[in-house]
C-alpha cells in the first residue's frame, strides 16, 4: 500500500515530513487549490508498507495527520516493481 495525500484537506503543517522514519515525504513547492504548500509523497517505495497487504505497520503518518488527509491506496503494477 502507498500513502496518498488529499490536497483538498492538507493544511501544510508538515508533521508527516517530520514524523516519517523512512523519509517518504517532503515539503511541497507548489501551492494547492486551497492556498497551502501541501506536502508531497516523494519516495513511497521507502515506506514500510510498500508491497504489503493486510495488516499494515508503522502508520505514524496516518495517525499523526491532524487533518485526516493521508490514506492508504493500493499500488499500480509499475510502482510494485520499484
Amino acid at each position: 500500500m502507498k500513502p496518498v495525500i488529499d490536497l483538498a484537506l492538507c493544511k501544510a503543517c508538515n508533521i508527516c515530513v517530520y514524523i516519517c522514519p523512512k523519509k517518504c515525504y517532503s515539503k511541497g513547492a507548489d501551492i494547492s487549490e486551497r492556498g497551502y504548500f501541501a506536502a508531497v509523497v516523494s519516495a513511497p517505495e521507502n515506506c514500510y508498507n510498500h508491497n504489503r497487504e493486510g495488516k499494515l505497520i508503522c502508520e505514524l503518518c496516518v495517525l499523526s495527520c491532524p487533518d485526516q488527509a493521508i490514506s492508504w491506496h493500493p499500488e499500480t503494477e509499475e510502482e510494485r516493481k520499484k
Binding site: I15, S64, P66
Partner: protein, 269 residues
C-alpha cells in the same frame, strides 16, 4: 467502518489550526473505537466549551454540547438516566481543570462509568492564548508576558488521588500508545481518564519559540519521561515544571465499584 463514516465528511476540513494536535487525537480515537467494534447508536459524546470540546460535533452520533466546565456533571446525569448508553466526554484543560475543577474531582470520587478524554494544550487556545492552570513554569502567554510564575496543576495525579479507575497520560507524539490507552479506557468499567498533552502552535508554541507544530512534537519527544522512571528518580512531583518535563504512561489501573452498581441503577435501566 471508514473514518468518514465515523466523522461527518460534510464538515471537513475542520476548524482547527494547521498542525493542531486535536486532529491527531481524532485519528487515534477513531482507531480505538473501530478496533473495539462499538456502535455509534449506543454511544453519546459530551463536550463542554473550547477547541477540544468541538470534537463531539464532528462525530456522526448524538452529542451533548454543554455549559463551560460542566460536561462531567451532564454526563453523570445522562449515564444514570440511561445506563445502557456508553458516555465519552471530550474536554480541555481549561474546561476540565480550571472552570470545572470541582466537577472533575467529584466525578473521579463518585466513579460513574464514563470515559473522559482531556486534551491539554497548556493554554486557553480558543480565546487568544491566556495562561491556564497547566501552563508550565516560566513559559510565556498573553497574560504572562514575563513568564508564568505559577506552578502547573497535574490533572492526572489529581485523578489518581481522587479515585478514578483508569488514568493515563500521553502526548500527541505517542500515537500508538495513546490508541492503546484509549481502548483500555473505553473498556474499563468506572471513571477512566486519559490526558493527551497536545500541541497548540498558534497560541502556545508561537510565544515560546516553537511556532512550528513539528518543533512542539520535538519538545514532547525530548521532555517526556515514563512515570516508572520519575518515581524511581524521586522526581514525582516535577511535572510540566521548571524543566518542562512531561510525565507519561499509565498512572493507575484498578477496579473500584462504580456508582451505578452501588445505587442499583443498572437493574432498573
Amino acid at each position: 467502518m471508514d473514518i468518514f463514516e465515523f466523522y461527518r465528511k460534510e464538515q471537513w476540513p475542520h476548524v482547527f489550526c494547521p498542525g493542531c494536535g486535536i486532529g491527531t487525537l481524532m485519528n487515534c480515537f477513531y482507531r480505538a473505537f473501530d478496533e473495539l467494534g462499538l456502535t455509534l447508536d449506543k454511544t453519546v459524546f459530551v463536550g463542554g466549551i473550547g477547541c477540544s470540546s468541538r470534537v463531539p460535533l464532528y462525530i456522526n452520533s448524538d452529542a451533548l454540547h454543554t455549559t463551560h466546565g460542566r460536561a462531567i456533571a451532564f454526563a453523570t446525569g445522562l449515564k444514570l438516566a440511561r445506563p445502557d448508553l456508553k458516555v465519552v466526554v471530550f474536554t480541555g484543560d481549561g474546561d476540565l481543570g480550571a472552570i470545572g475543577g470541582n466537577h472533575f474531582i467529584n466525578g473521579c470520587r463518585r466513579n460513574v462509568d464514563m470515559t473522559v478524554i482531556c486534551i491539554n494544550n497548556n493554554v486557553y487556545g480558543m480565546t487568544g492564548g491566556q495562561a491556564s492552570i497547566t501552563t508550565p513554569h516560566n513559559f510565556l502567554s498573553t497574560t504572562t508576558p514575563f513568564g508564568s510564575k505559577e506552578y502547573p496543576l497535574d490533572l492526572s495525579e489529581i485523578a489518581v488521588a481522587a479515585g478514578a479507575n483508569y488514568v493515563a497520560r500521553w502526548t500527541t507524539r505517542h500515537v500508538h500508545e495513546l490508541t492503546r490507552s484509549l481502548k483500555a479506557a473505553m473498556q474499563k468499567k468506572g471513571f477512566s481518564f486519559v490526558e493527551v498533552v497536545s500541541q497548540c502552535p498558534t497560541n502556545f508554541g508561537r510565544r515560546n519559540k516553537m511556532a512550528d507544530s513539528t518543533a512542539m512534537l520535538e519538545w514532547f519527544k525530548d521532555n517526556s519521561v515514563r512515570r516508572e522512571k520519575t518515581r524511581a528518580a524521586a522526581l514525582d512531583h516535577v511535572d510540566l515544571n521548571i524543566a518542562g518535563q512531561i510525565t507519561i504512561g499509565e498512572f493507575v489501573d484498578r477496579n473500584r465499584e462504580c456508582f451505578e452498581e452501588l445505587i442499583g441503577v443498572e437493574k432498573h435501566g
